[in-house]
């Protein structure tokens, strides 16, 4: 039996063996209701605190976003956007971080066995001991989330506090959020709660309010309630229709079984080189989304 107890594994990176899967698990989700988010950064603070991470103290570059991007220490970040929407000024504030995709591009791209796992409850977790720091997860992620540490050359991102969830606690960010902009529960309950919030927003005149649970990645275990769900891009570049890069799909779908069948090393080298350094056109949409996410609101 796995030592993971409540977090039995659904799949592992670079591994085709099925994990023991007799037990059923309830899918969980974190719902981020952007309409209730006050951008206080309590989630950022709680994330640093719980995960024992600290950034260097940086500088101000003319915006409220601090640090300025996700890093190996900053697994979640408030992104601020000042924008006129339908003639009304809004200060959009979105908590960025791992979406815990049902169909995780990072895991599919990862060549290190067991460096990325997806638990049955939906959490996608990086197992640092197994990480080789190749950075393919970064390429594989349609949301531009993982970051490679300069200290230990391993990839890091939000674990959805798998250590807390494993003992029946909510992720640190969800628990701390002062305005319940973040809630945590089963994916089903979160969707039902989102419906209520969306109804409230529609009553207040936000006709396009809706849930962000993008099908292109099989849905996510971190979902957003957006006032303007028809235009997710305005929330600091949240991709409208995120998809895993076809290259990653190709590697997972064809190349890997071939590799297992004993395909030549040279071919593999070539392939990895292409994924890491190759032309970007197939990933243009993702790149654009990532660039937008990095862009500061005042620019």
């Amino acid at each position: 039996m796995s030592s993971l107890q409540s977090l039995d594994i659904r799949r592992r990176s670079a591994t085709v063996t099925q994990s023991p899967s007799q037990r059923e698990a309830t899918e969980i989700a974190k719902l981020i209701d952007v309409s209730r988010c006050i951008g206080c950064k309590a989630c950022q603070a709680a994330c640093l605190e719980w995960n024992d991470l600290r950034e260097e103290v940086g500088v101000n570059v003319g915006v409220y976003d601090n640090p300025h991007d996700l890093t190996e220490n900053t697994w979640t970040l408030m992104r601020f956007t000042e924008i006129d929407v339908d003639g009304r000024f809004e200060w959009l504030i979105r908590k960025d971080g791992c979406m815990h995709c049902a169909d995780p591009g990072c895991l599919k791209a990862c060549p290190a066995p067991g460096a990325i796992v997806q638990y049955k409850n939906g959490i996608v977790d990086f197992i640092s001991e197994n990480c080789i720091g190749c950075g393919y997860c970064v390429k594989g992620c349609p949301f531009n989330i993982p970051r490679i540490s300069k200290k230990d050359a391993k990839a890091y991102k939000c674990s959805l506090c798998s250590d807390r969830v494993a003992v029946g606690q909510a992720p640190a960010c969800a628990k701390v959020c002062p305005t319940q902009a973040i809630s945590f529960g089963t994916k089903k309950d979160m969707a039902a709660w989102a419906d209520k919030r969306i109804a409230d927003l529609k009553e207040r005149g936000y006709k396009s309010a809706g849930l962000y649970d993008p099908p292109g990645v099989g849905g996510t275990h971190v979902m957003y309630v957006l006032k303007h769900a028809d235009r997710p891009q305005i929330y600091a570049g949240l991709p409208k229709d995120p998809k895993i890069s076809p290259l990653v799909e190709f590697w997972k779908g064809v190349t890997k079984p071939l590799a297992l069948a004993g395909v030549g090393l040279a071919a593999l080298i070539g392939f990895f080189h292409y994924v890491t350094h190759g032309p970007n056109e197939v990933q243009a949409e993702d790149e654009e989304a990532a660039a937008k996410a990095r862009r500061t609101p005042a620019e």
């Binding site: 940086g58 003319g62 640090p67 919030r197």
Partner: protein, 811 residues
Amino acid sequence: MTNLWADIKNTDLVVIMGGNAAEAHPCGFKWVTEAKHHKKAKLIVVDPRFTRSAAMSDLFIQIRPGTDIAFLGGVIKYLLDNDKLQKEYVLNYTNAAYILRADYKFEDGLFSGYDEAKRDYNRASWEYEFGDDGFVKADTTLQDPRCVFQVMKAHFARYTPEMVERITGAAKDKFLEACKWIAETSAPDKVMTSMYALGWTQHSKGSQNIRTMAMIQLLLGNIGLAGGGMNALRGHSNIQGLTDIGLMSNLIPGYLTLPTDAQADFAAYMRPRGFKPLRPGQTSFWQNYDKFFVSFMKAMWGSAATKENDWAYDYLPKLDVGAYDVLRGWEMMHQGKINGYFCQGFNPLMSFPNRGKLATAMAKLKFLVVMDPLATETSEFWQNHGEHNAVDPAKIQTEVFRLPTTVFAEEDGSLTNSGRWLQWHWKGAEPPAEAITDIEIMAKIFLKVRELYQKEGGAYADPILKLTWDYEKPQHPSAEELARELNGRALADVPDPRDAARLVLRRGQQLNGFGELRNDGTTMCGNWIYSGCWTEAGNQMARRDNSDPGGLGLTPRWAWSWPANRRILYNRASADVKGAPFNPKQKQVWWNGERWTGYDVPDYGPLVKPEASVGPFIMNQEGTARLFTRGMMRDGPFPEHYEPFEAPVANPLHPKVGPNPVARVFKGDMEVFGKAADFPYVATTYRLTEHFHFWSKHVRINAITQPQEFIELGEELAKEKGISSGDLIEVRSNRGRVKAVAVVTKRIKVLKIDGKMVHTVGIPLHWGFTGETKKGFGCNQLTPYVGDANIETPEYKAFLVDVKKLGTTAA
């Protein structure tokens, strides 16, 4: 707060003005989001800039800093003109019907009795007409032209929507939309809550800002009701407690006041404190003043306070001025009249206005004692920190003592939150190295001083020698012992006044509440309003039962709230004249035919029948709330819009009377007020949610989330000045300058004020020269040294600056 944090969920409309709850009080703001979701409440935010509270609002209105009274005065006019009043409430629970003296007047910006030379009013004419029976005259038809209601109507007639727009810059249509939403809460079963903080207090007319909204809430019948009230959010974790316990120049715990020079003895002291009821049959609860006072004196001086020596009356210092508040104190220091200074967990070098003046003043001290857990700028005022603190240590002769204290986690004790809850906390760790508690430090200093007086004698030593100090370990009084003193106990057997054979308390027993206090020396009590916090049943502040009978969020068995564990003040006013709740869906207290009962402790005599016509505002001599405040405020019985001391325009209402005519300005400070010609932009200062004053910049996590000093400019001003986000800029006032990073934003718009385009500059306040963040200058390099006319809160929220670009790359 008249109410409590969780009660905000009961409201229909939240108005955040003069505060920024989402940023400064996020966990309290939670209850706004709850009201929005569960009660479909709306949120209006009125502020000089689009804050993170505004990001959550249904309606945001930008106004020019320092024009709140104009905005709210316009709301009052709207309510009166459109008859949007809670009539039963206004007629019976306020002084609307009372007749005013014929010589009370308001003309050309001044109330009757102004003395220009003294910059003060003779307030005699700001008074009611009294009948032959000694009671105030009233006209319950509200038609008499001299009744408060009619005089108020005339006073606010000038605050038209056009005038509001001209003064504040608020678009007329948005202003009227806000008026409409506010007016809807005049329905007896609808409520609005006012959430405010230092955005209202830090003005030369701060008290009147708050009063104007209080008047609105009275006209709407929203005071005393769940989901209503005037809710001062309050800045620090125990600023409520420190104020309740009277750690201010002129206070005695529980809002009693120090005697003045002219009050030679206890009888003279009590003469103006008779609190005779002004209307027939009223309670006027302050008539118990002597019981509170005598019990306090017994707590201080025990057996040395006797009836014969007027309860040791002479041991108390007397005041020759209203108060030695911080502005007066530091003015004296600046003049070289203060030799020694103690700072207990306070950082005045960054906190008070005009840092240049402060630094000069501190260098004149002989000794400075700083007790703090952190290395504050104040404690290092003598150190050179380059341009951030450009001083020459060799020239500063002050001896400085820096004493390390514990933090919250390393001590037991109670804090009083803004909802008046006293909550006990427990020590969870040992302090680092040699840090000790403030209690221990105060004990050490006091006992050493007392020892010196015992050995050597000296100036008027009795109050020191005879101060009660009967703690088990004198050098280490426990928090428990001190809390028990605050609650008070019987010094002798206390008989029941109605039945002398029956004892209310035995000697030595803890009091159950202030109702048991006596004026004959048989009880002692440190702070009458805290009586009940530690009874014979134990520490009430440590209670942790969060059950909520009634469902209003009152949680009456969680901790303990003053007074008498009452959760919503003035709650009698939540019921109609007959004692039935105005809003049956949110019942608080009601008359059940025999007594007052309900989910809260009634703010009223429990057996007083509704037909007895005792007013619900039992602390007032009138029994009613005051729309007209008589002579209780220095700057007028009604609020009036006065400009900030540094303003971009003349006062549109009365150009000859610009700023508050009675606000105190010291010589030297008036001279360094800037003029609009040199300093064309209006500046305001504020906190950010990532930081807490000058404290969390020492905290790594918070330093990460907001690392460096910045200043916010609107896009229009930035364009004029060629400034982009991230540029290094300089902001100057007539007192100093700040260099910081520019944040150019759409959240601050240029406003049209009295025909002139006026820009607002936003200056967050958190940075200094110690701690984890990048070094900064602090906004008090710029701020003017003038305070509110009543309580001397400095005018941090509205002053004039100029802006200049220094470079393209922030240092």
